[in-house]
Amino acid sequence: MGLGLSSTVFAQDSLEKALQMPATKSQVSATFKSPKLINIQTNETIFKNELDFRVDHRFGDIAGQSGGIKNFFGLDQSTDVRIGFEYGISDDLSVGIARAKGAGPATQLYEGNLKYRLLRQTGNEKMPLSVTLFGSSTISAVKASTDPTSAIAYQDFQDRIVYVVQAVIARKFSPDFSMLIMPSYVHRNFTVFGDQNDLFALSIGGRIKITKRMAFVADYTLPFRDDTKKAYLENLWGNKYYNTLGAGLEFETGGHIFHLNFTNATAIQESQFITDTNTSWTKGQYRWGFSIARRFSFDKKKDKAQ
């Protein structure tokens, strides 16, 4: 009697208890929505056999001396334009090429880059962070200057190359909030007279979801230029060096990512905005920027096989 009773009581909810759910896939995905934030990289790479086509644009100063109504708040100018392709060799490794106008004297930029996911944050907190490495080399095809103090007084081909190495350390704190911190190392084979070839920088960035498809994004980069060199350069050229701050909105439509942003950086490439931002928010030297990214998938063969 006792036995019968207990077994029926058991049966009610034990059906659910008897089910052992497999452990959920532990990797955290979509820490950021795009491989790039505003000025800086994120930890995201694209998936295998995907092609990411991206156009970045930066307009002229909105306010300040060269801004205002006479250049329609910067829309009459473009300080930099970049067209880039990225291809996913695997889910963890992507390779990219890009052409950028380039801001400052070094223009006609050709960039090649590699991005590799080293670590992925897991859901069970065993791995609390994601880490992605980024490396690029950029070549300027601009005509070399004959002024030996110029930033583009290139002697040979080697002088035209700038290397960037970055480590993006990111964490998705909640479905709506992600942050990253990124040390950068920039090596310029040739610089303006009196500047340093090697430069370290530290960036922070974040993303806060406003709605399911719109997010607020911001990033800040602090370069560590030698103080005496900085003072010398600022005195010599009359240009101050500033840290970069970008803030904007990110829209995702499934396949497309749009960014609408404001930044004081004139350049888009890491090889330039980290080392050479001479424009300041406080002087009205911030600008509209936008980017459009579209992803294409090339997994058609797999589609048919399955």
Partner: protein
């Protein structure tokens, strides 16, 4: 003595429960929708299910992020934007087989199943036809039904509406081994 009796009772009760329950870890759930731009097709093989042979109660549970898509970006969007798998990690069905099935007798039974399906945190009552095949060493259950995304408050923004169908066909195949 009393302790022994309780232990014995528990053990036998547990055994009785085990005997009247069919558990399957071999559950394949897939869904498909045809849309003008591209078909959406995903499969998960890691769902779990149970049938209470005595009462006809059935349960299905699945981790939403276990669905595998051919296009990984689609998978990311599925979890991030539509299913919101961080907030609603599991979808489940709890219901009952309405028509009688003799699980001890091999054969094919076409039955009606009715119950509550919870997707995206929204529960809705469904009734569908299922085919249950009893063989000597396993019970197999098959069913298909349609889910309207709107019923579960899964919103499609107007800008991608052409890309995603508003109704998806769900297909379930579960194998419950009856012999160890």
């Amino acid at each position: 003595m009393k302790k022994l009796f309780i232990t014995l009772m528990l053990v036998s009760a547990f055994a009785a429960v085990q005997a009247q329950m069919l558990i399957s870890k071999d559950v394949t759930i897939s869904f498909f929708s045809k849309a003008p731009m591209e078909d959406i097709d995903a499969t998960s093989k890691t769902a779990a299910s149970g049938i209470n042979v005595k009462t006809g109660e059935v349960i299905f549970k699945i981790n939403n992020n276990s669905f595998q898509f051919k296009k990984k970006l689609m998978q990311e969007h599925f979890n991030e934007n539509y299913m919101e798998s961080d907030t609603y990690p599991v979808s489940e069905f709890k219901g009952k087989i309405i028509d009688p099935v003799d699980f001890s007798k091999p054969g094919t039974y076409n039955v009606a199943v009715k119950g509550n399906l919870q997707i995206h945190g929204v529960t809705k009552t469904y009734q569908t036809q299922a085919k249950i095949t009893v063989t000597a060493d396993a019970v197999t259950a098959n069913t298909t039904f349609r889910v309207k995304l709107e019923d579960h408050k899964i919103k499609i923004p107007t800008i991608v509406i052409a890309k995603i169908a508003e109704v998806v066909d769900v297909k379930i195949n579960a194998v419950y081994p009856t012999k160890n």
